[in-house]
Amino acid sequence: MKVDTIMVRFGEYTTKGRNRGFFEKRIYDQVRRVLRPFAAVQMTRTYGRIYIKLNGESYELISAKLKHIFGIASFSPASKCESELEVIRETALEVMHSLPKKPSTFKVTMRRVDKSFPHDSQEMNHLVGSHVLRAMPDLKVDVKNPEVELRVEIQPEGTYVFCEVVPAAGGYPYGTNGKAVLLLSGGIDSPVAGYLAMRKGLELEAIHYHSFPFTSEKAKQKVITLAQKLADMSGVPFKLHMVSFTEIQTAFTQCNQDHLIITLMRRAMLRIAERLAEQAGALGIVTGDSLGQVASQTLGSMNVIGRTVELPLLRPLITTDKNEIIRIAEQIKTYATSILPYEDCCTLFVPKSPSTNPNLNVVLKVESFVPKLDEMIDEAVAGVETLVIKPGESSAGKTSAGSDDWF
């Protein structure tokens, strides 16, 4: 079959009432931005749909891009033809012939949006189905459980014929549900949390805490690589704030409260995150917490840690299993980077038996004994180093090594 058109369907926000136009415009702009390299394509937007006319551009390359656009629920490679019975029948047959594997059962599903078309849906089902059956005698109709569903949509501008529905990322267009900051550690979970948050339409800025010399420069590079992947997914520039956490972390190790050190660190991180969120105009903090995974992610710990800040803490992974998280990480291609063996500041100084049920009063007391904690937090916020990561660039372009005229 000659795929000449891609029919794009939108995600769950189509149920939204008056805001729908806004969502649709955002996704239209996003699709247009992603398809900019394909000069020949033409896009049209109709109610709840985008049609991409390929004009000779590669379906494979374009579909690979569409799969990752947030807000697109699914799309179909289609053959567009004139709304005339004979033409529709021939096109339907062509589509059936072009299937990679010959099915033994099929059914026709008709959608007649153009009510001026002379035959109604029932008649059309029969007219198209019988034509296909005559030409492909081995085929049988199975309306309940067909191997192939041959779909025909009669629209005012023409008729689309297709069999395949390719699932895409779903969710909301990027940035249509407000803005939050993401705590990006370099592990497996936080990039996945970021991905899920972005898919829900959240615009993100990431924050990474490093403890040089306790953490290595490579750990930093790793986080930049992960941020690059998130930028590639959203398709827009992505901010990554690098916070030096060394001073605070070493101050905590002096408290002789080893089992509380993780709790104290997480609280300090959230305070810094909240301040950076304010600066960014963000209204939430996204973390990769998953209930019970480590000591700081028990309900008791989350209670004591969460009480540090007033902004809502968003935890997309809170009830997911590790295996599930890994599966998504593989799918969004962050896994291989995440498992690179560089320590980040959450794995540093981990005590033998961290508290899984810290006492808030004790924690508050210990914090009050840490000299100059507030100043150190101020300093960390003031000293933040912000990188802007552009989609489609490799992180290699950002390493400072070498002089430009070497390349």
Binding site: S394, S395, T399, A401, W406, F407
Partner: protein, 393 residues
């Protein structure tokens, strides 16, 4: 001395040498080291990779740095065949590949694979039809060079790519060692899965090669070691040479079209000159383009035979006159056998045993060609009394 052996190796560009020296002096740290020096060195590798990816319109992760064209060819072919050996046992290549491809397939043939070696016509190109006929359900790889290193014939890679697009399970390897910087290359458009190139053929350092493996194509590594280059090519990376290679590739491709048009003019001048010396017979097509305006001969290679004369004698005679040329390909010029490539082109023993290759570079001007031309004539005059008549046909 006039150097006419660019196919064997090119003089490195000055700016490439400078880059290499600077990087070598400053960035000697091991890219796998954790300290700042190591981080910087590995950053340079990634910048080089991004630069190479940019030149070919591909993704950085698709490129691996190797030790040269031979390793790239071996690693791509053996690596892919080993990975996909359960998908089929039939491989297709041509009779005129470089030994690093040809001998690799010979070896695979001994290991239970069925290998089809496609024939070439008198101009040294395969017929796409022959390839289509050779494809079978069992075919897993097609490997075809872009430009032949010995005679300069250009294979119809875009058409082959078009044909193979309908056969998605067949991997398409292209040896681009002689074509990078000489002909336009569109890996994505042609549907190329694996590609090889070498830095010292484009004014870069010796000892660096490129291997492209399209995203999704998995390879088994030939070497075991420290996991460098995503495990595909372990061993401490030669950072200075790799950075210099990236620069050389960029310079070779940038503005290549204009330079190569000039080189093409030199080529026609030389071809015309050879036509005036009756003892010499040109191999391949006269013109660089066919009637459909497709490249059929590389702009930098002119190959001819002097039937009845041992090519070494001719080359040494030219050398005495201040001209450096070569017999068949430099890699195998020490073997005293008629050229497999010329035999495959159906040129017969006499011509196959007397081939001489002139390969041009950016630095050559019309004067150089005219000088060369005069010397070719002189050399023939000098050697004519020593022709062996029994070897002439």
């Amino acid at each position: 001395m006039l150097y006419f052996d660019h196919c064997a190796s090119t003089p490195p560009r000055e700016e490439v040498i400078r880059t290499m020296m600077e990087v070598m002096a400053k960035h000697y740290a091991n890219p796998s080291s954790l300290h700042q020096g190591g981080v910087e060195a590995s950053g340079l590798l990634e910048r080089s990779r991004a630069a190479v990816a940019g030149i070919f319109g591909t993704a950085p992760a698709e490129w691996t740095f190797t030790s040269g064209g031979t390793e790239s060819n071996n690693a791509a072919i053996i690596g892919a065949v080993a990975r996909y050996r359960n998908k089929g046992k039939h491989l297709i290549t041509t009779q005129i590949e470089h030994p690093s491809v040809y001998d690799t397939f010979r070896k695979l043939g001994n290991e239970g694979f069925r290998v089809t070696y496609l024939p070439v016509n008198e101009q040294g190109t395969i017929e796409v039809r022959d390839l289509a006929d050779a494809l079978s359900e069992d075919t897993v790889m097609v490997s075809i060079m872009h430009v032949n290193n010995e005679v300069g014939s250009v294979q119809p890679i875009p058409q082959i790519g078009e044909l193979l697009k309908q056969r998605r399970r067949v991997l398409f390897h292209v040896d681009g060692t002689q074509s990078v910087g000489k002909l336009p290359i569109s890996l994505r458009e042609w549907g190329v899965d694996l590609f090889s190139a070498s830095a010292h053929k484009v004014g870069g350092p010796r000892g660096v090669g490129l291997m492209y493996a399209r995203q999704g194509v998995q390879l088994e590594a030939l070497l075991a070691g420290g996991g460098q280059e995503q495990g595909l090519r372990p061993g401490t990376e030669n950072v200075a040479a790799i950075v210099a290679a990236a620069k050389a590739f960029r310079l070779a491709v940038e503005g290549g079209e204009a330079r190569n048009a000039a080189m093409n003019r030199l080529r026609s001048r030389l071809v015309e000159c050879i036509g005036t010396i009756p003892e010499l017979v040109l191999s391949g097509a006269k013109s660089a383009y066919n009637d459909d305006n497709q490249s059929v001969m590389a702009p930098h290679i002119v190959h001819f035979s002097y039937p009845g004369m041992k090519p070494e004698v001719f080359v040494h005679t030219l050398e005495e006159m201040g001209i450096l040329a070569s017999t068949k390909s430099a890699c195998s010029s020490r073997e005293n056998k008629p050229s497999r490539v010329l035999l495959a082109m159906g040129l017969g023993q006499a011509r196959a045993a007397s081939g001489i290759r002139i390969s041009l570079g950016d630095e050559h001007r019309e004067d150089d060609i005219d000088y060369l031309c005069g010397k070719l004539g002189e050399a023939v005059l000098k050697l004519k009394p020593f022709e062996r008549k029994d070897c002439k046909s």
